[in-house]
């Protein structure tokens, strides 16, 4: 009986917490003329898919760019972070501790400062408003975290596994490629997931480094919507719903990796 009460309380708390998410969905289906109804319509009865039609008409290129930037960031992050994690966890070179320390510090640097430095550099190099430039900048959010996760995970791989490979005559590179990487699948999934999510959600690098580009990510699509046509809130919220899809999919199919990633940064050394 008491457990049923707790479930009821839990459901109520979750409902309160997720109300803004529900509201976003509700508004995305609300007709323009009902938008300022008093009191607001709590359910999208007599709803419209006008907002989603606007997304299809106007936002698809933005979504494509975001997908590209997200995948590019994932690739760059894994390629850089996985070998580094292997070296720090298993080869333990002199100076490795210092590098780990630098990576920890790097995570704490505010994005606005990185953005300003990148802006100055990109302006001189002439790579402002380019997709590769944005991928590179977005990867700085994920690389230190990635090395941290790979290091923590790979130090749990039994040494015997790697010794067996060495006995078989495999070099370090081969051991890394055909022994360490395959058993590190979970770490790869966690790092990729967060790298994608952060790149997909990034606003600060997009707005500073890609503000005038032909290929802009979805965060800028929403931002311009808010700036330009203040009235079309169903279209704005429909875009927001669509922009939330990756997060939702990831939560459903990879929930344990998400929780692992959130805690790994805080708890593991």
């Amino acid at each position: 009986m008491k457990r049923a009460v707790m479930t009821a309380v839990g459901l109520a708390l979750t409902a309160v917490m997720l109300f803004p998410v529900y509201w976003m969905i509700n508004v995305s289906f609300t007709r323009d003329q009902n938008m300022r109804a008093d009191p607001p319509h709590l359910f999208p009865v007599d709803g419209t898919i006008e907002g989603y039609r606007a997304v299809l008409d106007q936002q698809l290129p933005y979504l494509g760019t975001s997908l590209l930037v997200g995948l590019g960031t994932v690739a760059l992050t894994v390629v850089l972070a996985a070998p580094a994690g292997y070296a720090l966890a298993k080869l333990r070179p002199v100076g490795g501790g210092a590098l780990s320390f630098v990576l920890l510090i790097a995570q704490m640097i505010p994005g606005i400062i990185m953005a300003m430095g990148f802006y100055a550099i990109y302006l001189n190099l002439g790579v402002l408003n380019s997709v590769p430039g944005l991928i590179l900048a977005d990867s700085t959010i994920a690389v230190p975290f990635g090395v941290l996760i790979f290091t923590a995970f790979m130090s749990g791989i039994p040494d015997e596994l790697m010794q067996a490979a060495v006995v078989d005559g495999a070099g370090r590179l081969r051991t890394f490629w055909s022994v360490v990487l395959p058993v590190s699948r979970n770490a790869i999934v966690t790092v990729s997931l967060f790298a994608f999510l952060w790149a997909w959600s990034d606003f600060i690098f997009a707005s500073t480094l890609d503000g005038g580009g032909d290929h802009q990510p979805i965060t800028l699509g929403i931002y311009q919507y808010i700036g330009n046509n203040n009235q079309q809130w169903n279209a704005i919220m429909a875009t927001a719903v669509v922009a939330s899809i990756p997060a939702t999919i990831l939560l459903i199919i990879a929930q344990r990796y998400v929780a692992a990633g959130v805690t790994a940064g805080a708890i593991k050394d």
Binding site: P93, M108, G111, S207, T219, I267
Partner: protein, 299 residues
């Protein structure tokens, strides 16, 4: 952490070959932008010299300029209030929820997972949703308050409420992180302790203050410090909801730095970079405290 003696001998070029890409990357894409940022803050830049180079060295002029700027005081105050208020509520609510979900009732795992949603959404999505919910005329928050007989609040357009509005949105976004980390800390506390306390007749309240809270102190310290570092650099939410306004009433160092560098037609890169560097110093001070505490706990 386990030492791997037999497999990896210390040192060695092979290890640094694996580390070379990330090391070069850190130099080129962390150290160099940071260096450029310091350089920006020490020179007198105009739009022309920003593109073509040759800006005169100005020493600490930019820093003197921002310290005497009328925005400095309010921005500092708002940064502190925003950070402390966000942390206090995120942590308290996160702790209460962690303890609640730790009781394992039907559906507790699923509901706990759903609590992660706000944290995973792109910040621009959360910020624009909150903007519309807090809209003075058509927002659902004012409609609910009106139903309770409370007059409409100009959440985003009144200088008295704008900071509170962005804090509310930021608390909402930060609860999941606190919940997940504190929950994982709770799982590490042996259940037998609670059983023993129950046998001694301890109430739930006593169990929390005598067992949970003291044993959770290390995890709590790290949660708060990480939260502090993350909250100091919050930019997206404030910028999208209020742009730091009206009249600087929700400006923090992060939004001020952005506005100086990118928010005006005539960019002031030097002062913008100077504000950014002050922010970095604040973040690093707390970052080093975090690392010290973490080292001590897991050494």
């Amino acid at each position: 952490m386990r030492r791997s003696r037999a497999y990896g001998h210390r040192g060695g070029w092979a290890a640094w070959a694996f580390l070379a890409p990330v090391t070069l990357y850190l130099l080129a894409f962390y150290a160099y932008p940071l260096y450029r940022n310091v350089e920006l803050s020490l020179r007198e830049y105009t739009v022309r010299s920003f593109v073509q180079g040759g800006a005169p060295f100005a020493g600490l002029d930019n820093y003197a300029k921002i310290l005497s700027d009328p925005t400095f005081g309010p921005a500092l105050l708002h940064t502190v209030v925003f950070t402390l208020a966000s942390l206090a509520f995120q942590f308290t609510i996160g702790m209460a929820l962690a303890v609640f979900f730790h009781q394992h009732f039907p559906l507790s795992g699923t509901l706990r997972a759903l609590f992660l949603v706000p944290w995973l959404l792109p910040l621009i999505v959360s910020a624009s949703t909150w903007s519309w919910m807090l809209n003075s005329d058509a927002g659902v928050v004012n409609a609910a308050l009106g139903a309770a007989g409370i007059g409409p609040v100009n959440w985003l357009t009144s200088p008295d409420w704008s900071l509170a509005s962005v804090i509310i949105a930021n608390i909402w976004i930060g609860i999941p992180f606190n919940l997940v980390v504190l929950y994982s800390g709770l799982q590490a506390i042996p259940g037998t302790l609670y059983e023993a306390a129950s046998l001694d007749g301890a109430t739930g309240w006593q169990r929390f203050w005598r067992i949970t809270f003291p044993l959770l102190r290390p995890v709590s310290a790290i949660t708060l410090l990480l939260g502090l570092i993350y909250t100091l650099k919050v930019f997206d939410i404030i910028w999208i909801m209020t742009r730091g306004g009206p009249t600087d009433s929700s400006t923090t160092f992060a939004t001020w730095s952005y506005r100086l560098g990118f928010g005006n037609l005539l960019p002031a890169f030097g002062p913008g970079a100077a504000v950014g560097n002050l922010l970095i110093v604040m973040a690093l001070v707390f970052g080093l405290i975090y690392i010290r505490i973490q080292r001590r706990q897991y050494a």
